[in-house]
Symmetry: C2
């Protein structure tokens, strides 16, 4: 109650400081399987100055602080395992400055991806990182999110030019700037991107933008085996074509999508492809892609030019996780997220299907093949949690053995902490040294990353 | 002499530990204008283990250590201002592992850019970062180097996937890995890239590679004013064409090149352009580029398809700095390196010509217009050093006022230290906190960055 009063004094608006049970409950869990924990209190700041005051207070009393964006994390990033203050950033949702001639936008952290792209459309621009969910820009920066577009446009680390960060001690710093390139001192922007709220709270994010392409086509290439599909994708990537998206979905996952969406896609390993650019270059790139696909054993190659058919195709791809959830009502979900050197992807997917079959678990398996990143989405409940975690462990160990990473885009959060030392060895000590030097009281999102 | 004996004990080869005056002299200065300082001793390690032993010794006795690559730094990065041990990494020049199917290579830090590309050619691959000089990969990673290709392929921070780093205390860590993407913990790779030898010595670098494009054309577009050329470049970039290179060179610089190379390029503001891709897309992109150029006041538009003519064209562009040096024999050189939001570039170049004219100084002015990064190269000697430094100061202040950075690709080194706090404010304190936590004795490349 003392904390509540102190926070109300800072925020000066009782409606933005909550100890309401329903609100606490809403902030206790993510989309995934992690054990819920309710925060003691939820604050809804609207300015950097308010965040600053909250952190100064928390640091003084050593109260844990957890930032919350759109709530779409898959690794429990915002579950306040040590309770304390939850900073809900959804009311900091202003687009501060669009500079179309500089291909730059500055936003508050609560702005969501769709909100931003809706606004950018009128300038012929768009923000290319697309993790599927309508995540907040602050949250996406926190986890170094990416998604289907990253084969062409990279991840958040490639698109965030600068940050305003409130540090654990309430000091405000600005990293990076509005220049596309800089070699001026340590790259703090890239250090904070992906730090999952453990080094500071983002209060502003400056992003690079891209021009909307003249033409976009989407299509499917069907194969008799994962190996063939993988080999074809590898050859396509080597051909120098700049794919907008290139996704591999296995036969069993197509089957789940058909059942869920009432579609009738042929149930074989499939590459979902998108190519964008000028009309002419897209036509050329499709032709080359088809040629490569056919020479690698493709059995059917179909492209959709019109935007409706394209949307339907990508909806099928984006709904594979929901297909698994729909088939298992009332259960939670675990999505694996390893990333391997790209030539290893087909074998990794085959291995993953083997292990889920061995444990008799239903899984949607699909991957960003251009990056070597893939997911196995499985429904989870109290009865099968042990089994699912064993599968996840097996998949991570396989990826690490091949030189890969335990998380390509979801982040460490709670679920991947146990793998961090195995992946990075003594480099984790350096990470911990940095954490201790910037947050000596350990108030920022405790229980995550390490 | 005691240090010499201790280092010989570590290295076990007297030929790789030197206190020869000529050798010390060779390691005392860079290509630029900074005051030379000789190290006490130069060591030529061949293994990570040797670097480890050198650093452990230096840390114990608090001896400064400065890493040395190809010696092409323009900001005095390897001038050992506090003397001590110079680690010359040129004998660590092995290409350790090429994985063409993964578009990855692992190299020792002394491998040079040309050496690497020569080897990669046989796989149809290349390493896209090109700072002009035949720099070492370790040095390029240390300064977050880039160059003319970065508008298409980004900077070193975008291409370095992982590092092996020997820390100040002699501990060896590995950052990153072989996955194209990762969200597993803090992005230490991006922290070490651009840290200019002040946080650790790189002993291995893992790089992303690109496929050699089917077709490449280069060309020139001439304009009557810098404003027109700048506006045209902006419109070209917005058209969605993926330029390989797009460089703006001012009229006076073309004149200097003509005098130096005995060429007869028309002496007007010029865009040097390169487009690569499939035959068909390149043809299309040239047509669009020409159309845009003409609509923005281009007076002549010429493209070269054959590789010889293309090489000649880029030689002219790459030799502008030499043109200035040749016109001023025996003098040193200062290259400014600011980067501004891209729409600010034409005005920044006009402002730069104004200030060099005001001080009656000869300067080559040219820029990576796709990134907003440009250089004014001026000859420098004892007589004019004050004047040249005033010009540099003016150019940096102008860039910072426009939201830019004091260094786009050369790094801070010695010359830009005085601007760092102005550019980054309290973020510099965070950089210093990190430096102190990883190198508490301050042995690593003292007198640089801060």
């Amino acid at each position: 109650m003392k904390l509540y009063k102190e926070l109300v004094t800072i925020i000066k608006d009782e409606n933005r400081v909550s100890i309401n049970e329903t609100i606490l409950e809403q902030h206790s869990k993510g989309l995934a399987y992690h054990t819920p924990v309710k925060p003691d209190i939820v604050v809804f700041p609207t300015t950097t100055e308010e965040i600053r005051s909250i952190l100064a207070l928390a640091n003084l009393h050593q109260i844990p602080v957890t930032p919350y964006g759109a709530g779409s994390s898959l690794e429990g990033h915002f579950i306040p395992v040590n309770k304390g203050i939850m900073i809900n950033l959804t009311r900091m949702n202003k687009i501060i400055d669009i500079r179309p001639d500089d291909f730059i936008v500055k936003v508050q952290p609560g702005v969501t991806r769709n909100q931003l792209n809706q606004e950018l459309k009128k300038y012929g621009l768009f923000f290319p990182v697309d993790p599927g969910a309508d995540a907040s820009i602050g949250g996406m920066a926190s986890t170094n999110a990416s998604g289907t577009n990253s084969v062409k446009y990279g991840t958040m680390k490639d698109q965030v030019l600068g940050l305003e960060v409130v540090l654990a001690n309430g000091k405000i710093i600005k990293t990076g700037g509005m220049a596309i390139k800089s070699s001026a001192g340590y790259n703090l922007t890239s250090l904070f991107v992906g730090s999952e709220g453990t080094l500071g709270v983002f209060s502003e994010v400056t992003l690079r933008l891209k021009g909307i392409q003249e033409a976009t086509v989407a299509g499917r290439a069907l194969f008799s085996s994962i190996e063939e599909a993988g080999k074809a994708a590898e050859t396509m990537l080597k051909s120098g074509i700049s794919f907008g998206k290139i996704e591999l979905v296995d036969d069993r996952t197509i089957k789940a999508v058909n059942a869920y969406k009432e579609t009738n896609y042929q149930e074989v390993p499939t590459l979902f492809i998108e190519i964008s650019g000028s009309d002419q270059s897209v036509q050329h790139d499709i032709a080359v892609t088809q040629e490569v696909a056919m020479s690698e054993g493709c059995t059917l190659f179909e492209f959709e030019n019109d935007s409706l058919a394209r949307a339907k195709l990508w909806e099928a791809r984006h709904h594979v996780a929901f297909a698994i959830l729909a088939a298992n009502p009332g259960k939670g979900m675990l999505s694996t997220d390893v990333c391997v050197p790209i030539s290893e992807l087909p074998n990794a997917i085959i291995e993953t299907r083997k292990i889920t079959d061995k444990f008799q678990v239903d899984a949607a398996i699909f991957g960003h093949i251009g990056d070597g990143n893939y997911h196995a989405v499985m429904s989870i409940d109290e009865d099968n949690v042990g089994k699912i975690e064993k599968i996840n462990e097996h998949i991570v160990q396989y990826a690490l053995k091949k030189g890969g990473t335990c998380t390509g885009e979801h982040g460490v959060g709670i679920g991947k902490r146990k793998f961090l030392s195995q992946e990075h060895g003594d480099a984790v000590k350096v990470m911990k040294t940095i954490k201790a030097s910037l947050d000596p009281m350990g108030i920022l999102n405790p229980g995550k990353v390490f």
